[in-house]
Amino acid sequence: MIDADVVTLSRLQFALTALYHFLFVPLTLGLSWLLAIMESVYVMAGRDIWKRMTQYWGVLFGINFAMGVATGVTMEFQFGTNWAYYSHYVGDVFGTPLALEGLMAFFLEATFIGLFFFGWERLSRVQHLAVTWLLALGTNLSALWILVANGWMQFPVGTEFNLDTMRMEVTSFAAVLFNPVAQAKFVHTVAAGYVMGSIFVLSISAWYLLRGRNIAMAKRSMAVAASFGLACSISVVVLGDESGYLDGENQKMKVASIEAEWNTARAPASFTLFGFPDVAARKTHAAIKIPWMLGLIATRSTDQPVLGIYDLVARARSRIVLGMEAYSALQVLRSGPAESPDAAALQRFEANQADLGYALLLLRFTDKPAAATPQQIDAAAWSTVPNVPVLFWSFRVMVGLGLFFIALFATAFYLATRHRFDRNPWFLKLAFFSLPLPWIAVELGWIVAEYGRQPWAVDGVLPTFLGVSRTAAGNVWFSLIGFAVFYSALAAVDAFLLTRTIRRGPDGLGYTP
């Protein structure tokens, strides 16, 4: 029996742990390259201050890394405990990148992070620099694999359904690895992490300058963060645009929901800058539109329409009907002998198997999907629409913050080239108070990506509610509360350690030359 409470609680638990885990990951990604840049300057210029800078920011990197690893492990366990059907149905695809992510994260990163901290006195300058670059590389490679897995959930390629094992199996690992959605997500996500790392360094350095402490180190740190952050913040927006274009190609419902575009937008499609999506009335009130922009983002053209929610629901309705054919054929095939399958049923299944997932949506509304009524088909078709207001606002706040980061780093870069940080306390205050903003932006980014994929666990293949394990709601309540308490404790420890280290500063920790 599929228990709706278990579905909701399991989703809530995964969302909680994933959003919490991603408080740490992007900072690790960003700081790893900043450490590599600072140490490279040290090795090339031979000035001790750059070594001290690397060591000091390395301490903050280490605290964050330790907490991030601890929070990531629980997510992988949940695939087994809470998402057993999901794990079986797509495990052949999902398992390999997840295992490689674990190997990269634990073996490569953990090895080099040990050498990074304990190798300063035991390795030569160049050897230690190589360690730091490999640490950054390992950190980013582990992100690559998890985003390959996630990219496949957004745009499943290189796989097909196996009748005998009742699951999706890999037909081309290269297609899974080089999935364009996965690659676009990877570069967009890691670039967002680089922006976070840069703002972290910029903000804390600004705080030191405002306090008149560690001036030489803070100015150099700000200069590195400003230049790296400017390049990365521009990259995030450009790569996010590429991600948006691929969504326009492959996840049209997500784009229509982000835009609250209920009716198909005729070419050249306008972008809704602002408005109030009304789910009950299925329209957007007081919409302010920018001509042509949506067409350029979603189709890279001014002569193609962008499909609206009504038309996409109609398309889903057609796919459900085709999926019902595949579903009933599969029932026939599974009830007959495997060695001599019913030829007509096999042909019917093969012709419609691409839409099997759409028929599975009907299981929310009827016990017999193959004999669903028009009302049930209609309800299943409308269930393919994600939460429009959440996506609409999350996307706009995320993009607004992304544009603000470009302006922040451009100003910082200008001031760095003019050596004017200490003459502009307003900017130092702005930089310091910007510290929480990248976290808000990246969390909203994940909400857009994952909430926008609903009702699918794997787009068009497996509905989320069919992926959960058969377990008691009480068990999930127990683990959910346990995670919330444990993670809150970890957050408190992390905040305490980071704050204490920042307050003590490079001078207090003996990193001042």
Binding site: M1, A4, H88, M166, Y327, R364, F365, F465, L466, T471
Partner: protein
Amino acid sequence: MNANHHPRAVSWFTSRAGRRYNMQLAWVVLAKLVALTILYYAFIAPQPRTDITPTAMQRHLLDATATSGESHDRR
């Protein structure tokens, strides 16, 4: 004896401190393995596991009565 003989470079890991470090590391790894084993047998092993054989997947996805949902969306 050759007066120009250079003493062979000694790895830190074979020094007294290094050997103590190695021993501590081995104990930590061992303690973690024991703790994880105890946790597994105490809390995880006794839990019922979801059946994910192909037949179970067939029941889950295709056999209507078995999958009859308790979903509140069911109409």
